[in-house]
Symmetry: C2
Subunit: 121 residues, 2 copies
DNA sequence: CAGAATCCCTCTTGATACTG
DNA sequence: CAGTATCAAGAGGGATTCTG
C-alpha cells in the first residue's frame, strides 16, 4: 500500500493533473485576472493579452469544472456571461499571485543569470 | 524600451516566459524535489515519477539557465553530477510547495466539483 | 553515470471562419 | 456578445541508441 496522502511525485496521483490545470499558461493568467474582479468573456480576452478565444474558453471550462471559477449566464440579447472566482478559487489565487509577483521581482536576476550562462558557453 | 513595471498580462513581457519555465509540468516537480535535498540526475529521474531523461534534462537546463538551479560536476569516473537550488531557487521553491500543498489538500473538493459539473450535463 | 542525438508520433496551439 | 468548428503547424514527449 502506498502513502495515503496525495503525492504529486507519483505518476498516478491526480493532484498532478489538478495542478497542471491551475498552472497552465492561460489558466494562471485568467485566475489572476479574476482575482482583481469578475470579468466577462471579452474583458478577460482583452486583459489576458495574446490569448485566443479557443484557449481562453478551454481554460475557463477546465477551471469551472475543477471548481475554481464560477460561470454565470444571463440569457439576455446579446448574451451576458460573467466569470468570477469561487471561494476555493479565491483561496488559490493569492498563492498564484505570490508566485507571479516573486518571478516579476526577480526578472532582472533571471536575465542576468541567463547572460552569465550564455556567455560561459 | 518597454514598460517599467513587469506585467505578466502583457504579451510582450518576458516575465511570462520566466513564469512558464518554473511552472512547467516537470520543472515544478524538479524544483520541489530539490527543495528537499540536492539530487543527482538519476535520483531526480526516479523521484519525479514518469519523467523521461529528455524532458528532465531539458527542464534542468532551463532552470539552470534562469538561475534557479545550480549544476555541479565532478569529473570522476563514472561522472557525478549534483543539482541543488541556488539561493534564488531556495526562495522560489516554498512558494511552489505552498501551491502544491494547497491543491493536494483540496483534491477531494476538486473531484466533487467535477462530479457535480459532469452530472449537470 | 549523465547525458546528447535521433526518430517519430501525438497532442496542443493558434488563425480563421461560422453560429445562436 | 460569447462562444464553437475546423484545420494547419509546431511543440511536447517517448523510445532507442550512442558517447565521455
Amino acid at each position: 500500500m502506498e502513502s495515503l496522502a496525495a503525492d504529486v511525485f507519483s505518476r498516478a496521483c491526480t493532484s498532478r493533473e489538478a495542478l497542471e490545470h491551475v498552472t497552465g499558461k492561460w489558466s494562471l493568467l485568467a485566475l489572476s485576472a479574476l482575482q482583481e474582479a469578475p470579468h466577462r468573456f471579452g474583458e478577460l480576452r482583452r486583459r489576458v493579452d495574446g490569448v485566443s478565444e479557443k484557449m481562453l474558453s478551454q481554460s475557463l471550462q477546465t477551471l469551472e469544472r475543477d471548481g475554481w471559477v464560477h460561470r454565470e449566464v444571463r440569457s439576455t440579447i446579446p448574451p451576458h456571461v460573467e466569470y468570477r472566482l469561487t471561494p476555493a478559487g479565491a483561496e488559490l489565487a493569492p498563492k498564484l499571485l505570490a508566485l507571479i509577483g516573486f518571478v516579476e521581482d526577480r526578472l532582472p536576476q533571471v536575465h542576468a543569470a541567463r547572460d552569465r550562462h550564455d556567455a560561459a558557453h
